[in-house]
C-alpha cells in the first residue's frame, strides 16, 4: 500500500516568475479596489439601476463559494465516511476552502455600497429570518469561523516543535489538544453549514421569477446549487493537486486522485438527472434556441460542463492519466463556474433594461487580482506551514 508522508512546509523559494506575476496582478487589483473605495461603484463598474448585480457577485461570490466546496466534500469523505486513504488531500482542501471563503468576503466588501456595515447581520436586532441572503450571510460567517478553527492545529503544528519559540510550544500543544477533541463537532458543523448555504445561494434568485430566464428559473434552484457544489468539490481538489505538483515540480498524486475521480461521475450523474428532469417537467426546453446567446451558454453548461466530463471520467484510462484527469476536472470546474455566471448574470433579464450589462475592465481587473492574491497567499502558506505532503516514492510502503 502506498502511504503518504506527513505534511511538511514545502520550503520552496518564492522568487519565481509565477509568484512575481501573481504579485503584479494582485497589485493591479488593489489599485482598482482603492479607486472604487475612493470614487464609488459608478466610477469602476458598469452596474446600473436595472443591473444591481454584476461580475463581482457572479464570480467573486457566486462562483467563489461553489469552487470552495472541495473543503466540505473532502471533510465528509475523510472524516465522516472515514476514507482515510484520502487524508493527505484534507489539508490542501481545507486551506483552499478557508482562503476561498475569506476572499468571497473580501470581494463582497468591494461590491457592498456600505461595506462598513458588513457585520450588521450578526446583530440580533437586525436579524431577518425571511431573507435568503441573511441565511447565506450568517452561514458563511459561521462556516468561515469553523474553517479557521479547523486550520489552527496546522499553524500550531508548525510552532509547537520549534525551538526558536519556546513559549509558544505549550500553548500550541494545548490548542491542538482542544481542537482535536472537538474536531468531530466542527467537521459535522462545517458539512451542515455548507449544505445550507450552498443550497440557499440558489434560492437567492428564486425571488425574481419575472426576471430570471425560464431556462434557469426553477424552484429547485437550491437543490441544483447543492448538487453542483457537491459535484465540483473533488474536481477542484484534483485540479489543485495536479496544479500544485506541476508548479512545485513534484510527483503527481495519481494514486489518490485516480480513485477519488471515481466518485465524480456519480455526483455529476445525479446533478445531470435533476437538471434534465427539471427541464422536462417545466417544459423549459421550449425556451431553448440554440442560436441565441442564452441557448448557447445553457447548452455549453450542460454538454461541456456536465455530459462530456461525465463520459470522460467513466473511463479508467482518463482517470489514471494526469493530463486527461486534469482536463476532465477542469471541464467540471468551468462548467459549474459558467452555471453560476449564467444564473447571476446571463439569465437576469430585468424588465426595463435599456442596455445589457457588460462588465467593465476595472471589474475584471479586480476579480483577477483577487484570484491572483488568493493563489499568492496559498503559495506562501504552503511554503511555511505543513499543508502539502510529498507523494510517496513508488514501491515504498
Amino acid at each position: 500500500m502506498l502511504v503518504h508522508g506527513p505534511a511538511k512546509p514545502t520550503g520552496h523559494t518564492l522568487a519565481t516568475p509565477g509568484v512575481l506575476a501573481l504579485l503584479a496582478l494582485t497589485v493591479m487589483g488593489m489599485g482598482v479596489a482603492g479607486y472604487r473605495l475612493v470614487f464609488g461603484l459608478q466610477a469602476v463598474t458598469n452596474l446600473d439601476q436595472q443591473h444591481p448585480w454584476g461580475l463581482w457577485i457572479a464570480i467573486d461570490v457566486g462562483t467563489g463559494v461553489a469552487l470552495a466546496a472541495g473543503g466540505f466534500t473532502t471533510a465528509a469523505l475523510v472524516h465522516v465516511f472515514h476514507r482515510q486513504r484520502y487524508s493527505a488531500l484534507m489539508r490542501p482542501a481545507l486551506l483552499t476552502a478557508m482562503l476561498g471563503y475569506t476572499f468571497v468576503g473580501i470581494g463582497l466588501m468591494f461590491d457592498l455600497g456600505r461595506y462598513y456595515n458588513i457585520w450588521h447581520p450578526i446583530l440580533p436586532s437586525m436579524w431577518q429570518g425571511n431573507s435568503v441572503l441573511f441565511e447565506v450571510g450568517l452561514c458563511v460567517m459561521c462556516y468561515l469561523t469553523v474553517l479557521y478553527i479547523e486550520f489552527l492545529p496546522i499553524v500550531c503544528e508548525r510552532f509547537a516543535g520549534d525551538d526558536r519559540y519556546p513559549r509558544l510550544g505549550p500553548v500550541c500543544a494545548w490548542v491542538q489538544r482542544v481542537v482535536r477533541k472537538t474536531m468531530f463537532l466542527l467537521i459535522l458543523a462545517g458539512v451542515v453549514l455548507s449544505c445550507l448555504h450552498q443550497s440557499s445561494l440558489g434560492t437567492l434568485m428564486v425571488i425574481a421569477p419575472s426576471k430570471v430566464h425560464p431556462l434557469w428559473y426553477t424552484p429547485i434552484l437550491p437543490l441544483l446549487f447543492l448538487l453542483s457544489a457537491i459535484a465540483v468539490g473533488f474536481p477542484m481538489v484534483i485540479f489543485e493537486s495536479i496544479y500544485a505538483s506541476w508548479s512545485m515540480k513534484s510527483k503527481y498524486e495519481m494514486h489518490l486522485l485516480a480513485p477519488l475521480a471515481r466518485f465524480i461521475p456519480v455526483f455529476l450523474g445525479v446533478y445531470l438527472a435533476f437538471k434534465i428532469g427539471d427541464m422536462v417537467v417545466r417544459e423549459s426546453y421550449t425556451h431553448f434556441a440554440a442560436t441565441s446567446v442564452t441557448g448557447a451558454l445553457f447548452a455549453s453548461e450542460i454538454i461541456l460542463g456536465l455530459v462530456v466530463p461525465l463520459a470522460l471520467l467513466l473511463s479508467a484510462r482518463v482517470r489514471s492519466s494526469p493530463r486527461w484527469l486534469l482536463i476532465a476536472s477542469l471541464m467540471v470546474v468551468l462548467g459549474v463556474a459558467l452555471n453560476r455566471v449564467n444564473i447571476f448574470l446571463v439569465s437576469y433579464q430585468p424588465p426595463y433594461a435599456v442596455k445589457s450589462y457588460v462588465p467593465s475592465v476595472g471589474e475584471f481587473v479586480l476579480t483577477v487580482g483577487l484570484i491572483a492574491c488568493l493563489m499568492l497567499v496559498y503559495r506562501v502558506i504552503v511554503t511555511y506551514l505543513p499543508v502539502l505532503s510529498s507523494a510517496p516514492k513508488a514501491g515504498t510502503a
Partner: protein, 310 residues
C-alpha cells in the same frame, strides 16, 4: 422575461402540487397577519385616464423629499416624454406618456413609483431589516442599517429601487416612501396626491379605494378596462391603478399573482422548520461518522505510518 400564468403554474408544478397549494394557503394566512389590519392599510389609487401629464407630482415629490428641485416651470417640458423614464435616486416618481394604441389622439399618462406591495419582495429580501412595511402601508427604508448589497433591487418585481452608485461613502437605496414621516408636513396626504390638480391620484384606505375603483369601472365600462392593477399583482399592492388600455401597453410588468416571497420563504422556512432539517442532517452525519469508523487495528496501522491527520 415575464412568466405567464401557464408558465407560473408549470414552475409551481415542479415545486410539487402540494407545495403550490400550501403556497397559496400560507399566502392567504400571511395576509391575515400582515402588520396592522387590512382596515388600517392606506393606499393610493391612480386613475390613469384622468391624468393630464402635468408632472406636478414629480415636482412636489422632489420638493417634499428635500432634493434640489428645478423650478416648477421646467416640469412643463413635455420633451421628456420622448423616452420611457424610470424612477431615479433623485426622483421617486416619473410620469411617462403612451400614445393611444387604438388610434385615438388622446395619449395616456402613467405615473411610475414604488407600489408599496402588501408582501414586498424587497422587504423579504433585505437581510438587515433596512426595508420595512409599515402597518399603514408605506414600505420605508433605514439607511443606517443598509449594507448596500442591492438584493432588494434584484427582488423587486416592478424594478423600483434605485441606487446611488455615484456616492462612494454613504450610498442609499432610493424609492418612494409614500411620504411616510412627511405626511403631517403635506397636510396628511402624500405630496404627489396633494399636488395633483386632477381627480387622478387619490389617497385613502386601500379597501375604500378598491371599492371606488370597481365602482368607477361599473359606472363607466366604456372608459375603464375591468382590471385594477395592484389588486392582485405580486400578491397585491397598496397602490392601485385604473386604466382604459391594457396595462402591458402602458409599460406595466406582467407580474405574477402570488407575492414573490411566498415561494422563497416557503423554501427557506422549509429548510429551517423548527431547526429539524439541519439538526437531523447533523445527527445523521454524526451516526455515519461513528459507524464508518475504521476498526482499531487498521487505525493503529495508519497511526504507525503517521498518516492519521486532522
Amino acid at each position: 422575461m415575464a412568466l405567464n400564468r401557464r408558465e407560473f403554474m408549470r414552475v409551481a408544478g415542479v415545486a410539487g402540487a402540494g407545495v403550490a397549494f400550501a403556497n397559496n394557503q400560507s399566502h392567504a394566512n400571511e395576509f391575515a397577519q400582515l402588520p396592522g389590519s387590512a382596515d388600517q392599510m392606506m393606499g393610493v389609487l391612480v386613475d390613469i385616464p384622468n391624468c393630464i401629464g402635468c408632472r406636478k407630482c414629480e415636482y412636489a415629490c422632489q420638493e417634499s423629499a428635500g432634493f434640489d428641485v428645478a423650478p416648477l416651470e421646467t416640469f412643463e417640458d413635455k420633451s421628456v416624454f420622448a423616452q420611457d423614464r424610470r424612477p431615479t435616486p433623485s426622483s421617486y416618481t416619473v410620469v411617462n406618456r403612451y400614445g393611444h394604441p387604438t388610434g385615438d389622439s388622446k395619449p395616456a399618462h402613467v405615473k411610475v413609483n414604488c407600489l408599496h406591495c402588501l408582501e414586498p419582495a424587497c422587504v423579504s429580501a433585505c437581510l438587515v431589516r433596512a426595508l420595512t412595511k409599515e402597518p399603514s402601508g408605506p414600505v420605508v427604508y433605514d439607511a443606517a442599517k443598509c449594507m448596500g448589497c442591492r438584493y432588494c433591487m434584484v427582488a423587486c418585481p416592478f424594478q423600483i429601487p434605485a441606487y446611488e452608485y455615484d456616492n462612494a461613502t454613504t450610498p442609499q437605496v432610493r424609492k418612494c416612501t409614500m411620504c411616510f414621516g412627511q405626511l403631517t408636513k403635506n397636510g396628511g396626504v402624500p405630496a404627489c396626491v396633494k399636488a395633483c390638480p386632477q381627480d387622478c391620484v387619490i389617497y385613502g384606505k386601500r379597501n375604500d379605494l378598491l371599492r371606488l375603483a370597481h365602482d368607477r369601472i361599473s359606472a363607466h365600462p366604456d372608459v375603464y378596462i375591468d382590471h385594477v392593477y395592484g389588486e392582485h399583482e405580486a400578491g397585491g399592492t397598496s397602490w392601485l391603478y385604473l386604466s382604459s388600455i391594457p396595462y402591458e401597453e402602458l409599460g406595466f410588468v406582467k407580474a405574477g399573482l402570488t407575492a414573490p416571497p411566498a415561494l422563497t420563504e416557503l423554501i427557506q422556512h422549509g429548510i429551517f422548520k423548527y431547526w429539524i432539517p439541519p439538526l437531523a442532517l447533523y445527527g445523521l452525519l454524526g451516526i455515519i461518522m461513528k459507524l464508518s469508523r475504521p476498526d482499531p487495528s487498521e487505525q493503529a496501522a495508519q497511526a504507525e505510518s503517521g498518516t492519521v491527520e486532522c
